[in-house]
C-alpha cells in the first residue's frame, strides 16, 4: 500500500500512505457529523420542550403546513441521496464521467427541493405566518403558533443552509472530477461530501414528521 502511496500526488506529506489518509478523512467527517447531530439535536430538544408546554398551539401550527409539498420534497431529497450513493460508487471505480453525471443529478434534485421550499416560504410570508413583526395570525393560540413557526423556520432554514453549503461542495467536486483528480485509489472528497449529503437527508427525515405530520 505505501508503495503506491509514496508516489501518489494526492498524498499529503504527513501521512504514511493513502489508506491512512482515507481513513483519517472518513473519521474526520464522521466526527463532524456527530457535532452536527448535537447541533440539530439541541433544536429538537428545545422543540420537544416547547411542544410539551404548548400542545394546542403546536398542533394548530402543524396543520398550517403543506403536507403534499413536504411529502414531495421528502421523496426528492431521498432521490438525491440515491444519486449521491451512485456518485460515491463511481468514485471507487475511478469513473470520472459517472461521478459527474451523478453529482449533476444530485445537484438538480437538490435544487428542486429548494425551489419547493422557497415556494412554501413565500406562501407563509404571504399569509403572515412568519414570526416577528410580519406575524398576522389572529386565531386561537397565537403565541404557540408563532413559536411553532419560529421553530419551523429556524430548523428548515438551517437545513436549507446546509443544502446550500452542499451545493458549493458538489460544484467543487464536479470541477475536480472534470480535471481528472479522482482515481481508483483516491476519491476521498466524493466520499466525504457523500456522507455530509446523506446526513442532511437524515435531518430532513426527522424534520418532516416532527413539523408536518405530528397531530396535524
Amino acid at each position: 500500500m505505501s508503495e503506491i502511496g509514496e508516489h501518489h500526488g494526492a498524498l499529503a506529506h504527513h501521512f504514511e500512505d493513502l489508506e491512512q489518509q482515507r481513513q483519517s478523512a472518513d473519521l474526520g467527517m464522521w466526527i463532524f457529523l456527530a457535532t452536527e447531530i448535537m447541533f440539530f439535536g439541541a433544536l429538537f430538544a428545545a422543540y420537544a420542550v416547547c411542544r410539551w408546554m404548548n400542545p394546542a398551539g403546536f398542533s394548530t401550527g402543524t396543520s398550517l403546513l403543506d403536507v403534499p409539498l413536504g411529502t414531495v420534497n421528502t421523496a426528492v431529497l431521498i432521490g438525491s441521496s440515491l444519486t449521491m450513493v451512485w456518485a460515491v460508487q463511481a468514485g471507487h471505480r475511478g469513473d470520472s464521467r459517472s461521478i459527474i453525471r451523478n453529482l449533476v443529478g444530485t445537484l438538480l434534485l437538490g435544487s428542486v427541493f429548494l425551489v419547493i421550499k422557497a415556494l412554501e416560504y413565500s406562501h407563509k410570508f404571504h399569509d403572515g405566518l412568519v414570526p416577528g413583526s410580519l406575524f398576522t395570525y389572529g386565531g386561537e393560540q397565537a403565541a404557540g403558533v408563532e413559536m411553532f413557526l419560529c421553530f419551523y423556520f429556524v430548523m428548515t432554514g438551517l437545513h436549507a443552509l446546509h443544502m446550500v453549503i452542499g451545493f458549493g461542495l458538489l460544484v467543487w467536486l464536479i470541477l475536480l472530477a472534470r480535471r481528472g483528480r479522482f482515481t481508483k485509489e483516491y476519491s476521498n472528497p466524493v466520499e466525504g461530501v457523500g456522507l455530509y449529503w446523506h446526513f442532511v437527508d437524515i435531518v430532513w427525515i426527522f424534520l418532516f414528521p416532527m413539523l408536518y405530520l405530528l397531530e396535524h
Binding site: W30, G41, A75, S81, Q89, L195, L213, E215
Partner: protein, 95 residues
C-alpha cells in the same frame, strides 16, 4: 461489472424502502392513534435514518470506530433530551 450492478440494485432497493416508509408515515398521520402518534412517527423516522446510515453511508462493513462515533452522537443527544424532559415531566408531580 457484476459488483457494480449488485450495488446499484441494492441501493435502489433501499431507496424504494425509504419511499414506502415515507408513504406509510404520511398515511398513518391521517389516522389519530392518540398517545401513539409520536412513537409511531419516531419509529418510522428512526428506521429510515437507520437505513440511510447503514447502507447509504456504508456503516455496514465499516470500521467499528465509525459505529462508535455515530452512536455516541445519538447517545449524547438522547442524554440531552431525556434529562431535560425528565425535569418537565416531573414538575407537575410537585404541584
Amino acid at each position: 461489472m457484476d459488483e457494480t450492478t449488485n450495488y446499484r440494485a441494492q441501493s435502489v432497493r433501499i431507496f424504494l424502502a425509504l419511499m414506502v416508509l415515507t408513504a406509510v408515515t404520511v398515511a398513518v398521520s391521517y389516522v389519530n392513534l392518540g398517545a401513539l402518534n409520536l412513537p409511531v412517527a419516531l419509529l418510522i423516522a428512526c428506521t429510515k435514518a437507520g437505513l440511510v446510515l447503514v447502507y447509504f453511508m456504508h456503516l455496514k462493513g465499516n470500521l467499528r470506530l465509525l459505529w462508535i462515533v455515530a452512536g455516541s452522537g445519538f447517545l449524547f443527544l438522547a442524554i440531552l433530551i431525556t434529562l431535560t424532559l425528565s425535569d418537565y415531566f416531573t414538575r407537575q408531580a410537585v404541584g
